[in-house]
Symmetry: C2
Subunit: 178 residues, 2 copies
């Protein structure tokens, strides 16, 4: 299970300075994510996701199950690495999966033991911190993540469960209306 907490942040540079002191820098990269909807069920309703990601490290296909915890973004994630972005997108198209939206972000990843820290900047959307542990002890992992978040000045009450896809679609929606 991917136990994950997420926070919107106004001050990513400041948090980055704190994280640089506490954790080991892993990578700084651009991520391009294409999300798909299912041919015969609505992922927005079932709270699932299917994504093809391209970044400097390669291409991945990821399935995300529904969120299983009311306070966090914890969910099952299954990921495979692929040798080609366009051909995977073509296969999904042939199978009737439709593009739901795209997300582009700049992501800095750090690691502190088993905790992965992502500082994400999305143009026109804002900046976010995601803390993540791979564990099947959801409650234990969650408490460790919220304790860690406190050290970064991020309070448990401000944890959000909104996905980047939802944010991007919301902005597109209000742009359309405005």
């Amino acid at each position: 299970m991917e136990v994950e907490v997420k926070f919107a942040v106004e001050n990513p540079d400041e948090i980055e300075r704190i994280v640089e002191e506490m954790a080991e820098f892993v990578i700084d990269k651009e991520e391009y994510d294409l999300y798909f909807n299912h041919p015969c069920r609505d992922f927005a309703e079932t709270d699932e996701a299917l994504r093809v990601r391209r970044d400097v490290e390669g291409v991945t296909l990821t399935y995300k199950g529904r969120k299983v915890d009311p306070e966090t973004k914890t969910r099952e994630e299954i990921k495979v690495r692929l040798d080609d972005f366009d051909r995977m997108v073509a296969i999904l198209g042939k199978l009737g999966f439709r593009v739901a939206g795209e997300v582009r972000k700049r992501r800095k990843i750090y690691r502190d033991g088993s905790i992965v820290i992502c500082i994400d900047r999305l143009e026109g959307i804002g900046s976010f911190v995601e803390l993540e542990i791979e564990s099947d002890d959801v409650e234990g992992a969650k408490e460790r993540l919220f304790e860690y978040a406190e050290k970064l000045g991020l309070s448990r009450e401000k944890s959000i469960r909104t996905s980047y896809l939802e944010m991007v679609l919301n902005v597109a929606d209000s742009d359309g209306k405005g």
Copy 2:
């Protein structure tokens, strides 16, 4: 487009001897193929296929479109390489794809210019030769393949379009009935 002709053969050893003289040996391997059906359409009716293959070279996901030629197995094929068989199968399961059947075969591959020759042995099913060219000139490629087949003693009239999956399911079916 994968322009492909296929023949059932009684004498694979003899054909192998001829092919060894004419073409370059590429690989001799076991292939394990798992075929899936779509969650909301019947691939047996739409004449499509989705397959995860594992062999000594790695894992691939392949989508095959419907056959577009009455005489051959010519169809669109889109293929990606993957880093893991079980995780891809798990993702397909989560998306509602159901296992349609499995095919195990011993395959020897040869190449003669742009023509790929496969000599396949399927336990309990029989032996087969597949000749293949990647080309969008279906008619031209088809003629070249049938000419090549003649050299192997395989006559155009005996070309078959039945997939290994169909053969395996037919055998399973008659076993069940017998």
